[in-house]
Symmetry: C2
Subunit: 586 residues, 2 copies
């Protein structure tokens, strides 16, 4: 199955719109250049198309299987993962001191779109390992960093994150895995973890688990949780492997999609021989894990555009080849164009949203002024749950339309779109369900600071829109988005007022609140991209480029006229103060 | 996998709300009674739970398979189909003279919900055979009726409908299958048909295909199409089977869902030995087939509620058992309740919509006054594309929320909800994609008669709402629906005006037009049900019944406040006059 992606849109969004090339002006990225970034992206895309994409269909049909208590992966995954790591793609934005490339998060995120889009099941072997290394880079001891990060980035070892337990899903604080001090600085780990992505496999010589557990006697809830490195096979200080570390694979899940991503039930320390190594300070595990969780949430949100993107490219290609009703290509039927434009609008908007979030992370981590870093940290904090939930839900809706564009063929496994939809469904569920994301946004990111950060972010959106107002042909669109932004701010006030009166209102308003913000941010990004396109269109070197730039303008118009009104629907839900869902009738 | 369905809601909708029991006052149903109807439903439900439901998971995991050029069905299907037919369920609403039960379409449709909900793949062996028999009953010769209908209803033979060809999907008129007269009243059939549901299998001793083909020399397009009976094995006048009729199975499709429903590619007359028998008059095939197509569209629209129903029941059951965050059952979290209420509202609204459509068919077919028959025929004509498209799309959305209610477990095949979603996806695609349904509504059912029938239907909706306005506690809800209905009527005028100015506007407005109408009709049905519930609530015999009746009121409120505003979104799309989807940028 060929991997299709709109690389021109990716470049336009990164370089023309977000001006990622200017990151080189930050001291951390000194000496880098846009050319360098582009060349990494070109190599990564080539690799995704040539090496990763051929795994996708096979991975789905064969799936991860268990033989003799061990996960056996379909042929090809092992070699491709080794080559992927050997090319340096594991740590695009990580510290070169430990084997990373040291590039911006904005470049890494584009690479991630390629990997995820080419084969979603393969992507997790990349994402989690990179995320583990980023966590270790930030919080582990120098010794741990030197031992683990290079061996994980170079492909020898692979990583996981172990949070969920049978009784502790959305509520991580309920976990019961315990860590008993051995007296020598190491711990005995004992517990059961479920839904562990890539928790067992035969692609690398070792699997490094990052495990949340409670040190005996520590506080209940999230406050008493610590983070441990727990290798599948014990690791000597020189990196050589020792004995088995008593991490047992119990079973893997049979899933609707991402069938080549082994989702494992793991038993730690059944024989009392599972050693774990504390990361950072005791009881600070949730703080550390939040970095990885936030990155994983962005990655999962990106799964939306990463799979909706190729699904749209396939649907568009099909619509341009398939005739119906004489010689009419179906791409010319208005209802089909409506579906295609909806997909294109969501794909480009979600891509802009994900990249905008990553660009905020670059400034939050590497800007020289603390005040600026804090500001971008706040933006990233608001965008993370939006990227995760809005990205996965609208991406899913877009793949539905890709199937619909194919007609009956969309349901048939000879065509790739049904797999994209199945592989994508998980994204609204894991890394915190989308309901949890909505509670994160409305609770932690809005109500908790009295709306301070959201107000700041609203000002940014509004200021940026003012610039578009100056462009006559885009003024009506920008004005509509500004109106929606004002409605949203009133809805936010209503949310705060209702929260005082009725404790249930927060949960009832959460999803509409997130959805409304998502639509407004997406429309804002697209109309700003339209302005950039408009500035370039007269000097476009070719007719093709001109059409490309024109499409940015039409997509913005389509989003504002056809999709943005959904924000009104969600705002109406909030303003209705309707609590019928709480009635005792279920 | 147990089949779960809200039988109390089905009874309430049929008997308390739609008053199906009163059909006995029509001469055609003389001598029947509500007790009789209820007893048929109870038997059918028992059969669905005990016999059909056990096929569902097995059917999905094993699927229909091809061995030695013949479809082999998973174990159990054959016996269950035979018992199903032996119980008389094949022809609940068909003429007793040919083996039917002669009951109302409204009772048959409820039986269909049980069958589809218990096992979607199994349902097609029922639906198509019944639909074929209804078509033959209406248009075939007496000789054909006597030969085919009893043998199909009693389970000896099974039926199909053969329309689609590789180059003729939505555009049936492009078909190239030919029929050459043999001179003895029979025809030689030659052509290829694809996507033939239940086109080949080992469940019955013969398969009877109803095939659209063009008699040599007849007009191109839909006007020159005739309808033929083409048995897999030739049939003697006494019903005994003769030689093979040269209908070859080429292959079956590998699909995302309904895996035990064999979707066949059939080759008719490869060896010049395929005999077909004309039904009715030459060149009238599309007229006849439209009856079956309309029934199939309703059945496919019903697939939405039939699968969303049990998916909701499972999600509700899970939410009442699963704790998260200490001992809190997740059913008590407002965001989870929002998801459950959304499912409940769609399920009950779509069920009311499907049953309302069937009840219109009962009056359209059997009322003694022609004017009344015509009126109900018009209502059924409008409701059919709405049932098909709105029913399948909103049903799908509801199963998505069932998965979401389960969290990560929703993606796992140990739980039934992911299969409901996969099995349901096809419903928006076959029997005319939902885009085709929207064009049918806006073109054939609205613009073509200058809005006459839709205006009539709007008056009916409005008159019925006036009755609810008299009930104080429901007045605000009824008034909101009336306001939406007025907005919709303005949107309809805009559609007509835009159609004069811009030919593309029809296709662009089609889907928003259908969706807006769907939401308004659903809200209207629910609020009228709420009035019935309110009238009964004070005399409710038990607390449980009281809660049940109260739920009808809350569900109506939830729909009006939370879901109906989506009609505004779709109306805004129409009024925007936006044509950006037609821009030459794809």
């Amino acid at each position: 199955m060929e991997y299709k992606v709109d690389f021109e849109d990716i470049q336009f969004t990164l370089f023309d719109f977000l001006k990622i090339g200017e990151l080189k002006n930050l001291p951390y990225f000194e000496g880098q250049s846009q050319e360098m970034y582009l060349s990494v992206l070109e190599e990564a895309l080539k690799f995704a198309k040539k090496e990763i994409a051929p795994l996708n269909e096979k991975g789905d049909r064969i799936g991860a299987q268990v033989k003799d208590g061990k996960v056996v992966m379909p042929e090809g995954f092992k070699e491709v993962l080794a080559n992927f790591a050997a090319n340096g793609f594991m740590g695009v934005d990580l510290d070169p001191a430990y084997g990373g490339m040291g590039l911006p998060a904005s470049i890494n995120i584009a690479v991630s779109e390629f990997v995820m889009g080419a084969c979603a099941s393969f992507a997790f072997f990349h994402l989690l390992t990179r995320g583990d290394c980023a966590l270790l880079q930030a919080f582990a001891s120098e010794e741990q960093k030197k031992l683990y990060i290079p061996n994980m980035l170079n492909g020898r070892w692979n990583g996981t994150m172990c949070l969920t337990e049978p009784q502790a899903g959305s509520a991580v604080g309920d976990l019961t895995t315990v860590a008993k001090p051995n007296g020598d600085g190491t711990y005995q780990i004992h517990g059961t973890k479920i839904f562990i992505t890539c928790g067992n496999h035969d692609l690398t010589e070792n699997v490094i688990h990052l495990v949340l557990a409670r040190v005996e006697g520590d506080a209940p809830g999230t406050k008493g949780i610590s983070l441990f490195i727990v290798p599948e096979k014990r690791v000597s200080p020189d990196g050589s492997l020792g004995e088995d570390n008593d991490v047992k694979l119990v079973s893997i899940e049979h899933k609707m999609g991402i069938k080549a991503s082994p989702t494992c039930l793991l038993q730690f320390g059944d024989n009392g021989k599972c050693q774990g190594y504390l990361v950072g300070e005791q009881s600070r595990g949730m703080v550390y894990m939040f970095q990885l969780m936030n990155e994983a949430r962005v990655a999962v949100g990106q799964q939306g555009v990463a799979l909706a993107g190729p699904a749209y490219e396939y649907a568009l290609g099909y619509a341009k080849e398939r005739t119906q009703g004489g010689k009419t290509l179906i791409v010319n039927y208005p209802d089909v164009r409506r579906m295609l434009m909806t997909q294109k609008a969501y794909v480009e908007a979600l891509r802009a949203l994900v990249f905008e979030g990553a660009s905020c992370v670059d400034y939050a981590w590497h800007h020289s002024e603390e005040a600026v870093r804090e500001e971008y940290e706040a933006y990233a904090g608001i965008l993370t749950p939006v990227v995760k939930a809005f990205g996965s839900d609208m991406g899913f809706r877009s793949t539905e339309l890709a199937i619909q564009t194919y007609g009956g063929y969309g349901f048939i496994q000879d065509y790739p779109v049904e797999q994209y939809m199945r592989d994508l469904k998980i994204a609204s569920l894991y890394e915190g369900t989308n309901g949890i994301q909505a509670m994160d946004l409305i609770g932690r990111k809005f109500l908790r600071d009295g709306g301070k950060n959201l107000t700041l972010y609203g000002k940014r959106l509004s200021t940026q829109l003012q610039e578009v107002l100056e462009e006559d042909s885009l003024k009506p669109l920008a004005q509509k988005i500004l109106n929606h932004l004002q409605s949203f701010q009133k809805a936010a006030e209503a949310v705060a007022a209702q929260a005082m009166e009725n404790q249930h209102s927060i949960g009832l308003n959460a999803t509409p609140f997130l959805r409304a913000l998502g639509d407004i941010v997406c429309a804002q990004l697209l109309v700003r991209r339209a302005k950039v396109a408009l500035e370039q269109i007269d000097s476009a070197p070719t007719e093709e480029r001109k059409k490309f730039l024109q499409s940015k303008i039409e997509v913005a118009r389509f989003y504002v006229e056809q999709l943005l009104p959904e924000a009104d629907l969600n705002i109406a839900r909030i303003l209705s103060k309707d609590t019928s869902a709480m009635a005792d009738v279920l």
